[in-house]
Structures are given as C-alpha cells and as structure tokens.
C-alpha cells in the first residue's frame, strides 16, 4: 500500500476502479499544467515524437482515470491537434519525390499516419497524371515472397 510503480497502460486501465480505489494514476509530465501552457502558446514547435510518440492516443486513454484535470487535458490535446494539422496537411501535399524525414521527425504516430495518407494521395495523383494509373502491377505480397522459388505454379 502506498508504493509507487510504473506499469503499462493496459494494466492500469484494468486495475482502475473509481469505487474501490485500488490505484491512483499520476499524469506523465507532458500532460501536466506546465507543458499544457507550452502547447497552448505554440503547439507547432513541440517535438511530439520525442515527447512520447503516441501523444494523442495515449492522452485520450489517460482520460479514463478520474483525474480532476481531465477537461483541461482533453482541451489541450484537441487544440494541439487543430493547430498542428494545417501544417501537416500542407507539407504532405507539397513534398513530392523528396526526402521528407525532416518534416516527419517531430510528428507523433497519429500525425505520421496522416502525413503518409496525404503523401499517398499525392503520389497516386501524380501516377495518374503520368498515365500510369492503368498499369497492372505485381502484388506487393508476391514481391515479398519473390525470393523463394515457386516449384509448381498452377494458375
């Protein structure tokens, strides 16, 4: 009783019970007041990848534990996303055929997935413009297995 431990989120969620009070959860520093002011000042400067690559997902899960600061946390997460999204969308649509590692380095995983989706849209469009949209391609699954020799192909 009274000891402090680090446990994974899934375990904390399973053990948490507002009626029985088995555990209480301490917020990671990035969701606390000090950092929240940084986010509200300018969310675009923060390296969200370094600060815990699942800022949005993990933050949303944190709201499961009855913390009095939950409304502020939720607001901060939402506002952070809103202010960063515009830049992500713009850069994903304008970086064609170049090294995007600098752009992506400071994004958390959710933002990276969005960036990749934007890039895919851009690449597909360029492919269509070049007239390659009708080109049949080998299945990507096959290319992975291509190293092995197929002994009998019944097609």
């Amino acid at each position: 009783q009274g000891s402090k431990l680090e446990i994974p989120l899934w375990l904390a969620k399973g053990l948490h019970d507002s009626k029985r009070r088995i555990i209480s959860v301490e917020l990671p520093k990035i969701y606390k007041e000090a950092w929240r002011t940084v986010f509200s000042a300018d969310a675009n400067v923060v390296d969200l990848h370094k600060m815990g690559p699942y800022y949005y997902g993990f933050g949303s899960q944190l709201l499961n534990f009855d913390n009095p600061e939950n409304p502020e946390i939720a607001q901060t997460i939402l506002q952070t996303f809103i202010s960063r999204f515009r830049r992500i969308m713009d850069s994903s649509q304008n970086a064609y055929d170049e090294d995007t590692s600098v752009l992506v380095a400071r994004l958390d995983e959710l933002e990276r997935a969005l960036f990749r989706a934007g890039q895919k849209g851009l690449n597909d469009f360029q492919c269509w413009e070049k007239g390659q949209a009708s080109q049949i391609t080998a299945s990507s699954l096959v290319q992975n297995y291509g190293k092995r020799k197929f002994t009998d192909m019944d097609g």
């Binding site: 899934w10 375990l11 399973g14 053990l15 029985r20 088995i22 007239g131 390659q132 949209a133 009708s134 080109q135 049949i136 391609t137 080998a138 299945s139 990507s140 699954l141 096959v142 290319q143 297995y145 291509g146 092995r148 197929f150 002994t151 009998d152 192909m153 019944d154 097609g155």
Partner: protein, 154 residues
Amino acid sequence: RGSSSRSEAKSGRTDLIFLIRFRHCCLLRNQRCILAYLYDRLLRIRALRWEYGSVLPNTIQFHMSAEEVEWFNRYKKSLATYMRSVGGEEGLDLTQDIKPPKSLYIEVRCLRDYGEFEIDDGTTVLLKKNSQHFLPRWKCEQLIRQGVLEHILS
C-alpha cells in the same frame, strides 16, 4: 482449501481482489494480442485472394494453419457466389480490371521462365524469361499480379 481461502478472502479481501484482477488483466491482454495477430493474418490471407488469385502457391499455404486454409476456401466460395449473382447471366469477375483498362491488348515482358501459355484462339505462346509479347489484357492480368509478367506501357 476451500474453507481456508474463504476465511482468507474475508480478512484480506482487498488483497485477493487485487491479485485476481491483476491476473485477469494479464490474461485478457494476452488474449487481445493473440487475436490481433490472428486477425492480421486473416486480413492478409483475404488480400491474397484479391491480389494473387484463387490458388495459393504452396510456399504460402505451407505457412497457413488448417483453419486458415479452410477460411480461405470458404471466403473464395462466398466471393464466387456473390460474383455470380451480380452482372447478369455470367456474373461479374470483380477481381479483374482492378486498374482501369485503357486497351484490350497490352505489351508484357516475361520476368521468369513460365512455359507454354494458351490464349483464347487456341495458339500457344512460350513464356521465356525476357521475351516480350502482345497479349490480351484479361489473360495476362493474373500472371502480372503474380510477378510472372511485367506490364509495359508504350
């Protein structure tokens, strides 16, 4: 054992609840991980039907469990039944023309030795590595997806 644990349960009630909950959490977590893995496999197997064809190469089947093979067969059947029911008398092969076709015939290059290949009018073509051919699109589509042929744009 029953009576002693019952009295234990009454005195150290909170402790036991904690332990039971902890163990239950771990079991559920393991179950979720396993299900996620199996489900991901299933999604890939389903994708194989669309991207590769209705007959899986032995190297892939070798790595599938019996249940997965059966799932694939049932999915195949389901899909075939559905495709037969759309598009009039002959049905509609939805797995063809995944990319919008521009012409009836296409230029292809052979990526590896495949052997003889018969086209609709009865003639056969010898698919040897690096040979190029001008063939009907619908006959080649599957072979291109399987990596035997390469579609060349003019």
